[in-house]
């Protein structure tokens, strides 16, 4: 049951004027104060939960259609993760909305202060194609929880999902406040021309620059969730059980999640010369075990990216470094899990984010060299490291920079609501998930309250030396000195 006030939504054709009208309506709705109340926010989140439950099959279907995702993968990575997030938001909403009391120094008495979170207003969420439902709704959860009106532009490169969202969201959510506007770069440009109170963008660095430049015209704060080449450092692990498990996690992160087209997927591995052969054999084994049936793997999103990935393998020296896989199926837009050993570092496969099922393994003399290797490169969204060495772990945390560091596992940081999710440097800025989502879409407004009871005359002009002295004492929290000075017993 939609929270609609007698209005039919979602089936109009969107021209340029239609787009502006929709956004203007979201603004009017926000200005009316409707989205600020606890009840509204709760009802929207509950409606979102219902959508996730009732339309689960449809979601799994469109994800299969757009990306060839197996239903279990689609559930695990998108639908399920969202369910957890909405539950978490519902559980904590009241707490998040509550003002935060702040302690004050004695000198400020009698002032009482608190920090009151308030919505920013009307926010724009631009989502990406690889987790088209997850990356659309996860920010939306934050926007709604924080009391904003929101416009979502899903990626046109995942058309079935985009259509699904455009049709279903207005049925469940308040369509006067939450809008879905479909379209490609032109529509995005039109949207970016308008004034927003916040823009949340997930996508490539190149488009991220365009978004931020457009936002600058209106001084709109932005969050950019970008990507990068996320490395996995693979140290020697003692037991073969641990090794096997680690390799399973690597394989899951590389190929098991959207066939490598994930911002937090593993881009490449760093391992010692010595260990590389063992690792490759283990990987081959796991690939056979997990992915023999290509039905359990996603597809490349479109011809353009398929061609881009094939081109990465064109170079002779890169092609020569392939040690497993390499076969492609243009009709299916499928590329099998492929491993490369030491492709040249100056080739595109090692200078650009791969975003596909090609896994370069770069070998080093000793595993500690991985730190220098990473320091010389742009900061990624996540650094993975498989190791038992506590000292090495500490060095990785201290001496490298990335959005996140994950030890001995992959991808699951996405599910952890207590840690912030976001990049740094080239991988973006701004964070979300859990309360970080709520804060991302809020203005944390400090409120101080005074009364008229106590008044210090030395706050006011005309100035003289005595007033200056009194203030010096106060600022040094030298209350005795203050009292003495006040009483004229001290200079």
């Amino acid at each position: 049951m939609a929270l609609i006030t007698g209005k039919k939504c979602g089936d109009e054709e969107m021209g340029a004027l239609g787009l502006e009208t929709e956004v203007a309506e979201a603004r009017t709705t926000f200005d009316s104060g409707k989205t600020k109340g606890f009840e509204w926010r709760k009802s929207q989140l509950e409606a979102l939960l219902r959508l996730l439950q009732e339309k689960e099959e449809d979601m799994l279907k469109v994800l299969k259609e757009d990306l060839g995702k197996h239903r279990v993968e689609a559930y695990r990575d998108e639908v399920g993760a969202l369910t957890k997030s909405v539950d978490n938001a519902l559980l904590n909403l009241k707490k998040w909305m509550a003002p935060e009391k702040v302690s004050l120094p004695l000198v400020a008495v009698p002032t009482v202060a608190e920090i009151v979170p308030e919505p920013l207003g009307v926010v724009l969420v631009i989502s990406s194609w690889n987790f088209p439902i997850g990356l659309s709704l996860e920010p939306l959860i934050g926007a709604i929880a924080a009391g904003n009106a929101a416009v979502l532009k899903p990626s046109e490169l995942a058309p079935a999902t985009s259509e699904f969202l455009a049709v279903e969201i207005p049925k469940y959510l308040d369509c006067e406040a939450i809008k879905v506007i479909q379209g490609g770069p032109q529509v995005a440009e039109q949207l970016l021309d308008l004034k927003w109170d916040k823009i949340f963008f997930t996508g490539s660095a190149q488009v991220g620059r365009i978004v931020m430049t457009a936002a600058a015209k209106h001084l709109t704060p932005v969050t950019l969730e970008l990507g990068g080449k996320c490395p996995a450092i693979f140290d020697s692990l003692k037991s073969s059980r641990d090794q096997r498990m680690a390799v399973g996690r690597v394989a899951g992160a590389k190929w098991g999640s959207c066939l490598g087209q994930a911002c937090i997927g593993i881009d490449y591995l760093l391992v010692t010369d010595e260990y590389a052969p063992t690792l490759i054999e283990l990987l081959k084994g796991v690939i056979k075990e997990f992915f023999s049936n290509s039905e359990h793997l996603a597809r490349i999103v479109n011809k353009h990216h398929f061609q881009r990935l094939c081109n990465l393998l064109q170079d002779e020296s890169v092609a020569a470094s392939v040690v497993h896989g390499g076969s492609v199926n243009a009709e299916e837009l499928f590329i099998e899990p492929t491993i490369l050993l030491n492709p040249p570092l100056d080739k595109e496969i090692m200078t650009e984010e791969i975003f596909g099922p090609l896994l370069p393994i770069i070998t080093l003399k000793k595993i500690e060299d991985s730190i220098e290797f990473l320091r010389a490169r742009p900061k990624p969204l996540v650094i993975y490291a498989f190791t038992h060495d506590e000292k090495f772990k500490q060095r990785i945390v201290d001496d490298t920079s990335s959005g996140c560091v994950m030890f001995n596992d992959t991808l699951i940081q996405y599910l952890c609501d207590t840690i912030p999710f976001g990049g740094v440097g080239q991988s973006g800025f701004g964070q979300y998930h859990g309360k970080f989502s709520f804060d991302n879409f809020s203005n944390r407004k400090p409120v101080g309250r005074r009364n008229f009871l106590i008044e210090f005359s030395f706050r006011y002009p005309p100035w003289n030396e005595k007033k200056l002295q009194l203030l010096r004492h106060i600022y040094r929290f030298d209350y005795i000195g203050f009292v003495l000075c006040f009483l004229g017993l001290k200079r």
Partner: protein, 487 residues
């Protein structure tokens, strides 16, 4: 120490070289240690103590700022920022342990604060000492290397920084670059890990657009028209003193959080105006242009900007107090205006000077429409004893900060975030918020190999899906099965 020396101009090459040097310093790990950060802060604390009279002198030269204001609003606030940072540095630097989720059990999680790298601080002219040193303190405390570009419109303070800062801090990691538009442009072309800008919205847009090229996060401390809503039930004498000192006692109105305009009821306005007049005479005497307790207008440009506002048709006849100007001395007396037209210059732009328009309404509830018709200000004030009105003000007015029954004080409280929203800015600082503004909060999640959910991996089956569903929803049973079921 960079800057204009003889015929040298700070151009792109110099900017590049400066950033390169700082990057090397940063990469060497110098600025990350507790010892380095503490040493820099101690250096700055010493600077403030030892050079207090030079600083006061520079502020007098740049702004004719009264010594009291220099002490109250710049020196003492800088000192407390420094000491507060020193006191809390160790605590802030410690990683924050957070509970991990059941979905990721067994795991341990923490949030580690790390410096962003090499940052640029561009400061403003109205509190040229504080607005330079305060963000720099934040940059240092978070472990960054930093370039400070003080405002060229406050040249004495800028020069002072260029001269004395290197004597007190590590100049291989903390640099001062003096200059105007060309130098700032050269700096903005470089790649920074953060840019912190204090100033106006026009330049703020330029800074953000330049930052966008390198995906550099920004903090923009801008301004706006800070409204003061005055109810008739207040202790008028006290309220008026607080408004007056917040307006004219803060650089003669040239402050981003100074009251810009007052809104009150038609019936109360005459009393309010009278009370303000009495207070103004008490503070500044019968000839305010000669009072030593009033700052002057910073330069001719801003002086003209203010006199243009006063001279506008239908505005000049609304002056009910003050209005005297002295172009030679760049002085303007505290001026009250009553009911200027809503579309006048003085009501459309941030005043940033000693002119205080009073807008009257029939009832106070009508004021929200007026306030919200303008862009969100840095601060908003309400004077009232009526709890209901106070609550309405809080819910209806969005601003960087709100103060009830006083003016400007919140900026001195190091436990409150200081920053704008909408046109008044992006980001916040002061106290720990400064540390956070210049840090990256890195999530660190650690797992072992004890528990393994075979259900995570293909080949996928309905049974695996069932377990994953339960696991994601925090079901203990599913967790048990996930950990122990063999596939």
């Amino acid at each position: 120490m960079e800057g204009k020396t003889s015929n040298e101009v700070f151009n792109r090459e110099k900017a590049e070289a400066t950033v390169k040097e700082l990057r090397q310093s940063f990469r060497a790990g110098k600025t990350k240690t507790y010892e380095w950060r503490a040493a820099q802060l101690e250096g700055i604390a010493r600077l403030i103590k030892e050079k207090e009279s030079e600083i006061t002198q520079a502020l007098r030269s740049d702004l004719a700022k009264p010594e009291m204001e220099s002490y109250l609003h710049e020196i003492s606030l800088a000192k407390s920022a420094c000491l507060f940072a020193l006191k809390n540095l160790k605590k802030w630097m410690k990683p924050e342990k957070v509970p991990a989720a059941i979905t990721t059990f067994p795991s341990s999680a923490q949030i580690v604060s790390e410096p962003l790298g090499v940052v640029l601080v561009i400061s403003a002219w109205n509190y040229p000492f504080l607005l330079s040193i305060d963000p720099v303190i934040g940059a240092i405390v978070a472990g960054n290397a930093v370039v400070l570009k003080p405002s060229e419109i406050a040249p004495a303070t800028s020069e002072l920084f260029a001269k004395i800062l290197p004597e007190y801090v590590d100049s291989s990691s903390i640099k001062v670059v003096e200059g105007g538009v060309p130098e700032t442009t050269a700096l903005l072309e470089q790649k920074w890990d953060k840019i912190f800008y204090t100033g106006n919205g026009k330049v703020g847009r330029i800074v953000m657009a330049a930052a966008a090229k390198n995906l550099t996060p920004v903090s923009l401390e801008l301004g706006g028209k800070s409204p003061v809503l005055v109810d008739s039930d207040v202790n008028l004498k006290v309220a008026v003193k607080r408004i007056a000192v917040g307006k004219w006692g803060c650089n003669n109105g040239q402050a981003c959080i100074a009251p810009d305009y007052i809104i009150t009821t038609k019936s109360f306005a005459p009393q309010l105006v009278e009370a303000l007049k009495v207070t103004l005479e008490r503070f500044y005497g019968k000839n305010p242009l000669e009072s030593a307790d009033l700052s002057r207008i910073v330069n001719l440009n801003h002086f003209k900007h203010l006199t243009d506002m006063l001279d506008e048709e239908n505005v000049s006849d609304k002056i009910v107090c003050g209005g005297q100007t002295d172009e030679k001395q760049l002085k303007i007396a505290p001026t009250l205006l009553l009911d200027v037209p809503h579309d006048s210059l003085i009501m459309k732009n941030e005043i940033f000077g000693p002119l205080l328009p009073i807008v009257t309404v029939d009832k106070l509830e009508d004021s929200f429409e007026i306030i919200n018709s303008m862009s969100k200000p840095l601060a908003a004030y309400v004077f009232t004893k009526n709890k209901k009105l106070e609550q309405e003000f809080l819910s209806n007015v969005s601003a960087g900060g709100i103060l009830v029954n006083d003016v400007a004080l919140h900026l001195a409280n190091l436990y409150l975030p200081f920053g704008g929203v909408g046109e008044s800015g992006i980001g916040a600082y002061h106290g720990k918020f400064s540390f956070d503004a210049f840090s990256h909060k890195k999530a660190v999640l650690s797992r072992g190999f004890a528990g393994e959910a075979g259900a995570r991996y293909p080949p996928y089956t309905p049974e695996k899906q069932w377990i994953l569903k339960g696991l994601i929803n925090g079901s203990i049973v599913a967790l048990f099965l996930a950990l122990f079921k063999r596939f």
